[in-house]
Amino acid sequence: MNKILWLFFVVVRRDLILAMRRRADVLTTLIFFVMVVSLFPLGVGPEPEMLRKMAPGVLWVSALLASMLSLGRLFSADHLDGTLEQMLLAPQPLSVVVLGKMVAHWMVSGLPLVLMTPVLGLQFDMPLEAVGVLMLSLLLGTPVLSMIGAIGAALTLGLRGGGVLLSLLVLPLCIPVLIFGTGAVGAATSGMGFSSHLSLLGALLVLAVAFTPWVAAQALRISME
């Protein structure tokens, strides 16, 4: 058990160090997120009433797209320099390694988006409470996106046009997360209880933690043949 935890932390730490050395990659995802969100008011017009209504959906969809953008690199960099093969030979289950990589990916590409949300929420004139709920929903939901996305990233490893294919495979699977995430904010702004949405998101997160590492590990083994 200890060895498993240790391997998990080794992988997380490794990926975080690598991300630190390649800060540009992390920043591009974040900048992409901010830009897409800022484009929406330019596209639909500046009426505050409408923007306020749209904000949760816009932020969620942008977060979804931003996480798609960074998913391509999740395994492919390690695949290209051979380190992924070494991880396949780890003496602990591969799903531990995969979970480690998922967590690191989320900390690098999901967490910054959550932290950026308050600023962007102000752009859309969202009430303070709604911003809080939105952050909470993103906090619960973006890890699920990273985890489902990891399955897609593993399946499309090393394929030509992998990035587009990845989005094609993963986006439909992410719809429930999107629905519950935006639903929570919608419920909060209209004065209804939002706890049921958040607990459903939490349930999805638990399900994802339980199953996706194993599935993604299987996908990796298939793709590495």
Binding site: L155, T156, R160, L168, L171, L173, A219, I222
Partner: protein, 233 residues
Amino acid sequence: MFYPLAGKLVPWFAVSSAILFAVGMYLGFFVAPTDATQGEFYRIIYIHVPASILSMFLYLVMAGYAALGLIFNTRLSSMMASALAPTGALFAFIALWTGALWGKPMWGTWWVWDARLTSELILLFLYLGFISLHASIDDPRRADRASALLAIVGSVNVPIIYFSVKWWNTLHQGSTIKFTGTSMQVTMQHAMFTMLAACWLYAVAVVLSRVRSIILERERHTKWVAELPEVAL
């Protein structure tokens, strides 16, 4: 061996499907009465409902075959899975198309974000994902196994997606418009079941003949393929 058996079965399924289509259309258009509330428009359901039932069912069948292929490493099941996908996708497309046509006179717009239509659309996306993943991997074994995993993940996700879409829908619309409020008449049911059976038989015929091509393609280096009468011609 499966190949010649499938070859013998295909014409039977095809012919009986054609007959049932004809009978179903006759029942649907000439025998079944006009619906009280929806007028003649309701007759779309004779194609819409079978198509949507089949598109969902074929996905499950496909995922089942894919799982068999993945777990027991049987190549025939994987080939069946990849032969099923295009037919399922087409049925999903027909269901969406006819659904939109039905929606226009009923709801006054081509597209309504109704739970069923939305789920059907997502189902079509899942089919397309499966097909394009399979198509973009060159090694057939990896293609089979990778898309099988995707199909299984998708089939686990389908109930979650359906539930979430339905829930989202009730949240935003209050109430959805029901397809048929009153119970269907007996002749309507007959027509519906005949069409459903016709679609079934059609799907079986097309999938079997498609899987025959796939078998030939994959096994082209083996001896038995070289000895087939249609190849030796």
